[in-house]
Subunit: 473 residues, 2 copies
Amino acid sequence: MDDVIATRGISGTLIESVMAAIADRIAARSLAPGARLPSVRSFAGTMRVSVSTVVEAYERLAAEGVIRSRPGSGFYVCGPLAPLSLSEIGPKLERDVDPLWISRQSLEVGDDALMPGCGWLPPSWMPEAALRRAMRTLARAGESSILTNYGTPLGLPPLRQLLARRMGEHGIAASPDHIMLTESGTQAIDLLCRFLLEPGDTVLVDDPCYFNFHALLRAHRANIVGVPFTPTGPDVELFGQALERHAPRLYITNSGVHNPTGGVLSPVTAHRLLKLADASNLIIIEDDIFADFEYTPAPRLAAYDGLDRVIHIGSFSKTLSASVRCGFIAARRDWIDGLVDLKTATSFSGGQLTAELLFSALKDGSYRKHIDALQVRLAKAMSETISRLETIGITPWLRPQAGMFLWCRLPEGLDAAEVARTCLAKGVILAPGNAFSQNETAGGFMRFNVAQSTDVRIFDVLAASMRALGARI
Amino acid sequence: MDDVIATRGISGTLIESVMAAIADRIAARSLAPGARLPSVRSFAGTMRVSVSTVVEAYERLAAEGVIRSRPGSGFYVCGPLAPLSLSEIGPKLERDVDPLWISRQSLEVGDDALMPGCGWLPPSWMPEAALRRAMRTLARAGESSILTNYGTPLGLPPLRQLLARRMGEHGIAASPDHIMLTESGTQAIDLLCRFLLEPGDTVLVDDPCYFNFHALLRAHRANIVGVPFTPTGPDVELFGQALERHAPRLYITNSGVHNPTGGVLSPVTAHRLLKLADASNLIIIEDDIFADFEYTPAPRLAAYDGLDRVIHIGSFSKTLSASVRCGFIAARRDWIDGLVDLKTATSFSGGQLTAELLFSALKDGSYRKHIDALQVRLAKAMSETISRLETIGITPWLRPQAGMFLWCRLPEGLDAAEVARTCLAKGVILAPGNAFSQNETAGGFMRFNVAQSTDVRIFDVLAASMRALGARI
């Protein structure tokens, strides 16, 4: 008998017994998560093994992630504090199409990265001069309370007046006291979800839709149901079926030019949708974050409904600044009261400074000029991007009336997640279709931001990756 | 028989039958919340009554809030969309001591109101010049991406470095990648609650504690347990009992000078507390928002624990600006990853501009000078406020080492909520004790902000109110 093997065998068995003894205690909760393990010396006594056997057993358990050591303090049962993990709520997705993937990639890279998958404009497309002017004005003339104090619960009155007027232009009758400012458009939706949802409630989203709706709704432990989106809004037939089958509490959608598809709600779809919502007591959140991209305003659900069951939200992160964060909620007055309490409890008060800056920049006549120029610039980038994509076999699902997004079909047989992975290795961040699709039916699609697609290297990398994956282009 | 009475009687009975028929259907959910009621005409047919009887029945139900009318559309069952109401979670409290009362009052009034109950400094006590300088600098020299783009997921690197250095001065070893910026200190706690709590989890708080902890925890549907606070930290004996009895997940407290009591954690309490927490696998959130008020730093739980089960958070809302909102979380690296995902999902990205402004103002040498001057000014206001309160029979629970809060006992037999109500009618906003007390054991206490108590009219109003309520002073 080989001594070395024998020693290993015996020692291995002893180590395993010690490991099993600890595992039993953890299973029986006599060692609860977070509890300190017996000291090596005392457990060696208990188990009648050597100290080094216990050390080895503890280290193996630590390597397995069952326990962990704290220098100078001993070993502790792991998983004790295991907190909410967004990736563990809802179905497991490939990391590439996990709803947070694109956000994470786009937020973490430098400004000079190539990111046609990104959801915002490049800094150079934003109205920097107006912002600098607004900051100088406030630095010079802002009251000291504006610079140092909390804002009021509803938020800056003149900004709410300006928002009410803007909504009026879209046919939405909202007085300033129907409007509450929030820290961002995302926070607006988040507050509303807290206000309206219980864990397990069903929420309808468009399929495809803005991917962060998925992440946000997962954080609320909502049951998400996707309704296929057509060029004129959600498929009304399937929407009705989803209402019957799932009795959802809420539907979240984009108004104006839809993200990612570029579709636009038609009046007849809007009307039918609201009739269905009325009959099923569905609440609708309409996210109007892309309002200023439109040439011709599309119907707003809130305009048809009169802020009864439709809640209208927005921000200026996409057209003014994503750094000066400020969003808003327009809703029924009785809901605004409850929302104010919830906002106070969970974020105490909005940023008065950002609201003042935003107001100052929005009322500056140059904002309108910026938008006019932006629309022209986007239209040009849209045409160019469409041509460039078409030369490599990628075709738009529709030609959007406005906005920065182009929802495209890849050549037959290509998987967008694979293409995205391949391109990421070459420094190009894409937005693969299934990140937007609750039903994962968009594996052959990709969203392009035309303002982020002006560098021709993007198309070279994309074409090379697609060829490497077998596309004949 | 009197015809008029007879007619009324019959009509009344018929109306009530119609009302009862509708109420039955609502109770049986054949009319679900939000559903449209049968038209007046058709229901008149069903019930074999006149149209005007149904109209009257519907109108009474509407007046009772059971249904509501929508012009041109008919009547609908109410309460359909009834959303989360913070006041309905947890025990019903008098509106005066409801945890949101003081916030609401203080945030809604103008800057010139008398508000000794307010939780922040007057604008004139804040470092306005440093903020104006920071804004001018950024308006002139800030990169365009800083003015227009989203921040990175963790937040501005040089600010995180500065925070890590500050923590180092308190003995807390945190590298910048253990730190995530948030939109505010309140948002930091809110994110952590989402990360760590399930509805129904028990959370320990100090009794008394910062009242918004109550409101925030209610929004998370947590079970709140208060542990009596002593001048050197929570009562360790009772803390241990609460751990055994309630198996809480979390303990939230203030570090440095405690709000509202002005107490300061002693080393022995800190050590015992952490031993208990270790044994019970309790996570601790330490809110360090008052750090810069201290002359001599008190022990930090995070320094003793090494950011293992203690999470350290803070902001500069109390000493720099509450308008330039930015907070931070310092925690275990593995938790920071999960928190970044949660922050991205629920608020997408922090405000880069406010982080830059804060960084610029903090690194400005004038901030340290502001703090030095502020400490002297607060000490003076503290002495004056104590003298003035003592002349009207109000005595401090202890004389705080630093900070702006003074926790005081009213003359025997007075109820702080009553005093607060009486003073509010005279334009003085106070902070009655039970707003801070989960166990409602602080009905004879009141918190004063010495920086907001420099106007002698406050003490006149207070004395008059107390006399009117029977105090012999």
